[in-house]
């Protein structure tokens, strides 16, 4: 099972975790990650996506994760629109019988999402000017560690 939500309104990670589906029978672990907007030098962040493809791309990443680890449910919630420093920007949750698969799949999904989901960031500096964020080499290196082509994820 997989759920992907592109959210134009504030993201509340506590609600994501509280409502994350679990089975009393065989869910032994839920690993989750929440990313936040860092305020260093910026006054706001704006995110644009490709409606339809962004969701499809993240679902393909979750499918790749489920071929590698025995995961039960995975959920990704990603913000779009304008955000302020400190705002939650992305939430990833994964359940499994055991923690190892949940931890690994959560990290894998996050690493691939960053380089393969069509989302683009702009930052507003302290002077009020907007600048597009450049893709970072270290994000690609992190994704490549998993040994899979970024756009086949």
């Amino acid at each position: 099972m997989a759920t992907v939500t592109i959210l134009p309104t504030p993201l509340d990670p506590s609600v994501c975790l509280a409502t994350f589906p679990r089975s009393a029978d065989d869910t032994g672990a839920v690993a989750s990650f929440c990313g936040y907007v860092r305020g260093q030098g910026i006054s706001a962040l704006a995110l644009e996506h490709y409606p339809g493809m962004t969701e499809a791309s993240i679902l393909r990443t979750i499918e790749s994760a489920s071929r590698r680890w025995p995961i039960q449910h995975a959920q990704v919630v990603h913000r779009v629109g304008e955000l302020l420093p400190g705002d939650p920007i992305v939430w990833v949750g994964v359940s499994s019988s055991h923690r190892s698969a949940a931890f690994s799949a959560c990290e894998f999904i996050m690493d691939y999402l960053k380089v393969s989901a069509p989302l683009w960031k702009r930052e507003r500096d302290q002077a009020g000017q907007w600048h597009w964020v450049e893709a970072r080499d270290r994000d690609h290196k992190r994704a490549q560690r998993w040994g899979m082509s970024e756009h086949r994820a």
Partner: protein, 83 residues
């Protein structure tokens, strides 16, 4: 045929899509890049020539040799920076 553009490319173009007559559908992505560069001016041509600009056909990233037909959903965009 309609070609969608996102982020910096959308800003450069001043619009989120380009409409081309179906009869103009190029054989592949490389030919479409050339056609758009010819029609849309130097700044856009330069941005589109960047090898880091992706093309997606029916919402999957493809390479320049990928064949095209007028009914497909085609998009160009810069490297992703989400998460």
């Amino acid at each position: 045929m309609k070609v969608l553009v996102f982020a910096q490319l959308r800003e450069l173009l001043g619009s989120n899509s380009i409409e081309l007559p179906d009869g103009d559908c190029p054989a592949n992505v490389a030919a479409l890049r050339l056609l758009l560069a010819e029609r849309l001016g130097d700044a856009f041509a330069e941005a589109l020539a960047d090898p880091n600009v992706f093309c997606a056909v029916d919402q999957r990233v493809v390479d320049d040799e990928h064949g095209l037909s007028p009914t497909q959903e085609i998009a160009f965009f810069p490297p992703m920076t989400g998460g």
